[in-house]
Assembly symmetry: C2
Homo-oligomer: 326 residues x 2
């Protein structure tokens, strides 16, 4: 399992894709697609697809196009989410709906969506239907998760199990689908493909909880953006929901006061809410929750009989995700 | 070829689909999907898919799910187009982005897009890849057509060949894909499936030109909406582009004056532009163009060796489309 080689395969596909779009018309449709994919990213999803395929000694050449399809799909969801979230920046660059407009962002997103299917469809014929079933199920669930996330903005009460369900759909099922698709193409037995799905799903939830923690407690220099964005926007993350659960009447009132404070005191608000989080110890509780899902993911991975060296490398990959600072 | 039976099959699928969504959560995601499909429509695309399959004595049960997938896809495009066109009404009912909001319209549209794939994916395994290739190619082209249409709004010069290319992509390729997919599932030889594709493509262009004519010269009672909408919105249809081509300097100035007139004189503007169209004879020219594509479609249909009764019924179906008043 040579991760650098896997990355090269993905970068090659990305380059080929971008080349195939160069000069394509209508330009107003295709330029935003190239722009979006050029913004970069960790390419974690296609990487996990190749890792899963390799875990069962499958042929990477059969997995690389579907892996690429999932990366295009992921970028499509970011593009449409940015319209809905009115996000001005993505990876420090203007979002498509800001650089062009919302109509172009909708339509170039739709086009990327079709392109993602065209790549996933290149899975070997013998497993095509199975791969497409996993992919489309995940795609629907990602939409459900995004809708839940939007509904939460105005919902008076969001429970923690509900929040976990939302991040499970919005973030984790796609990671789970990556792993399962890689496993299927790699020739895994159905039970092993399912264990890898559960590994990806639980790891994804742990990953998102880690993200919530980093947004508040991360080193802004390492995270690459100002920390506290979730606090400023009153985002109902695990930390906020847990704090509301834990707080006594007085702390709850203090927290509510900050939630309703005007945005002009952003830095002050971040510091104040962070202090409440620290007082209530919600960081440690979030880390415990994160480790619970992380451990669960490893339990599933351990059920799979495969090359122990490759398995260890995947464990290392997962551990790195949990220890990352950005 | 029993068209009523075909319609029943499609209506049954639509009902089953709607039932499967009832009560599904998040409700804010699924309610707009049921609403959109409940708005009705001619269901022309799935009907053409079944007709094409039957033309080669194929099993309708194998074509009905892909046919349904194309209908869902078509409705998805209407949903997203309505956001981009800021349309308040669709079939006399509020559009999804008006009844709910634009974010919900984007996301429930995305979900319908995945659902359309899930239906098309139910094509028989032996032709699955081929069917998906035709479907995804058409889906991309529909996006290209919509982008061209949006680009035309601000383009200073749009040529008639360019306009024909746009409606070919935006409207016709999906009709063409319906027919080709039906033919493939029905077991047609590749050359016959391609002839049916060309039949659908040319018929679709004729159909859209007919729509352009109806919008201006139709009986508003029969069309079911106020005629002249294209004139009011300065839409660059075949009629307007041809009028610009045909007009002498003075008529062109008159036309330009109306194009820049304020919307408060909508009825007056419609009458005036219609009078210019009549003076220049562009209605007859549009009809000639329409018949050119209609005749071309029939040439392709005639190349296909199949049951003459069924072929005649398809010819009748196409002739009805050309003579429709709404």
């Amino acid at each position: 399992m040579n991760l650098n080689h896997f990355k090269e395969l993905i970068d090659f596909e990305l380059e080929e894709f971008n080349k195939s779009l160069a000069g394509k018309r209508p330009e107003s449709l295709y330029a935003p697609i190239c722009y979006t994919l050029d913004l970069g990213g960790k390419r974690m999803r296609p990487l996990l697809t190749l890792i899963a395929c390799d875990l069962f000694d499958g042929a990477l050449s059969e997995a690389v196009k579907p892996a690429m399809g999932i990366e295009i799909f992921h970028n499509f969801t970011l593009l449409h989410d940015d319209i809905m979230d009115k996000a001005p920046l993505r990876r420090n660059q203007p979002t498509v709906h800001k650089k062009w407009n919302a109509d172009i962002a909708i339509l170039s997103g739709d086009t990327m969506f079709v392109q993602s299917f065209q790549y996933v469809m290149q899975a070997p014929a013998g497993v095509l239907k199975e791969v497409l079933d996993v992919f489309t199920k995940a795609a629907i669930e990602v939409c459900e998760g995004q809708q839940m996330d939007m509904d939460f903005e105005t919902a008076p009460n969001v429970s923690i199990p509900h929040y976990i369900k939302m991040i499970g759909l919005k973030t984790s099922v796609l990671l789970a689908a990556c792993m399962k698709i890689g496993a299927i193409i790699g020739g895994a037995r159905p039970e092993d493909a399912n264990h890898l799905y559960e590994f990806g799903k639980n790891l994804g939830i742990a990953f998102q909880l880690h993200d919530d923690i980093l947004d508040v407690f991360g080193n802004s220099h390492k995270v690459g953006k100002q920390t506290g964005g979730d606090i400023v926007s009153n985002k109902k993350t695990y930390l906020l929901l847990k704090a509301m659960d834990m707080a006594d009447r007085y702390k709850k009132e203090e927290l509510m006061m900050w939630l309703h404070a005007s945005e002009s005191n952003a830095a002050e608000k971040v510091e104040a809410v962070k202090a409440i989080y620290e007082y209530l110890g919600v960081k440690a509780l979030a880390e415990t929750e994160m480790m619970k899902f992380y451990d669960k993911s490893l339990l599933h991975l351990n059920q799979i009989p495969c090359n122990p060296d490759k398995k260890q490398q995947l464990i290392n990959f997962a551990a790195n995700l949990m220890q990352r600072e950005s």
